[in-house]
């Protein structure tokens, strides 16, 4: 079965990148900035190309859920409740996510302006503080750069954990039904199509 001749592309292995990303950020939080690629690329595809090529072919996170869920059988593969992929939940979660992103940027600004100090911790599920001080011992960048790193890494880790939980409970890529990037890019594509 697995031996049928399908041409493999380099971007089918980007799930490895999504693991490497978290490993790098564990040792040095500045690597968290690399996650911005996963934010900007899908938007460029959607805004310029009017497609979801990123989601459809090169999102390492989606691939990771498939590799763990299907290939390694860590998913029940059960249908998720319909509300999880309903429009109100998807857009609601997008708004929540963007609000949290904004809060994170504001905290970065506080450190930038000197009103706040760098906190070497990550926050899981927007609630639980986890000390992470080993991942930063100063650099030639100002403190706010590291603060953004801690905040962004928290966001990436939290969303991956949520994705893993729904992967186990439901279908492999259930996260993709309410992933903020997925919702945003599909929304942009739909808007672009109405223009034509």
């Amino acid at each position: 079965m697995a031996k049928n001749k399908v041409k493999r592309h380099w971007y089918e292995y980007l799930w490895i990148w999504s693991i490497v990303y978290f490993a790098l950020g564990f040792f040095n939080i500045l690597f968290a900035w690399l996650g911005m690629i996963d934010f900007i690329l899908p938007l460029i595809f959607a805004i310029v190309g009017g497609n979801k090529w990123f989601c459809n072919h090169m999102c390492g996170r989606g691939q990771l859920f498939w590799v763990l869920g299907r290939n390694m059988k860590c998913s029940r593969g059960k249908a998720a409740p319909a509300w999880l992929s309903s429009k109100w939940f998807r857009y609601g979660f997008l708004i929540f996510f963007l609000t949290m992103f904004g809060t994170m940027v504001f905290q970065t600004y506080l450190v930038f302006s000197g009103a706040g100090t760098l906190r070497k911790a990550i926050k899981l599920f927007w609630t639980f503080k986890v000390p992470w001080q080993w991942a930063y011992n100063g650099s030639l960048f100002p403190d706010w750069v590291a603060q953004f790193g801690f905040g962004f890494y928290s966001l990436m880790l939290t969303s991956t954990l949520i994705g893993l939980i729904v992967m186990v409970l439901y279908k492999e890529r259930t996260w993709c039904t309410f992933c903020p990037m997925g919702t945003m890019t599909q929304g942009i594509c739909k808007l672009k199509n109405n223009d034509k």
Partner: protein, 70 residues
């Protein structure tokens, strides 16, 4: 003749592309990042896409071939 074909629900589809990746016949395309579209001539109604779809947006329907080919 009645045949089984995949039929994605435009409204429920989140355009993730999982179905397109899984379809052994390459019968599915994600139309302009909006929703999945099945090429009925290629689809053999195997249901692999439907099982993979995280939004449960695909049903396998029995349809009349003459009508489908228009």
């Amino acid at each position: 003749m009645v045949k089984k074909k995949a039929s994605p629900d435009k409204d429920r589809c989140v355009a993730c592309g999982v179905c397109a990746l899984q379809c052994p016949r390459k019968a599915i395309n994600i139309y302009r990042g909006c929703y999945a579209v099945v090429e009925l001539e290629k689809c053999v109604g195997c249901g692999i896409c439907s099982k993979a779809c995280p939004a449960n947006a695909i049903t396998i329907n029995e349809i009349n071939q003459e009508v489908a080919n228009g």
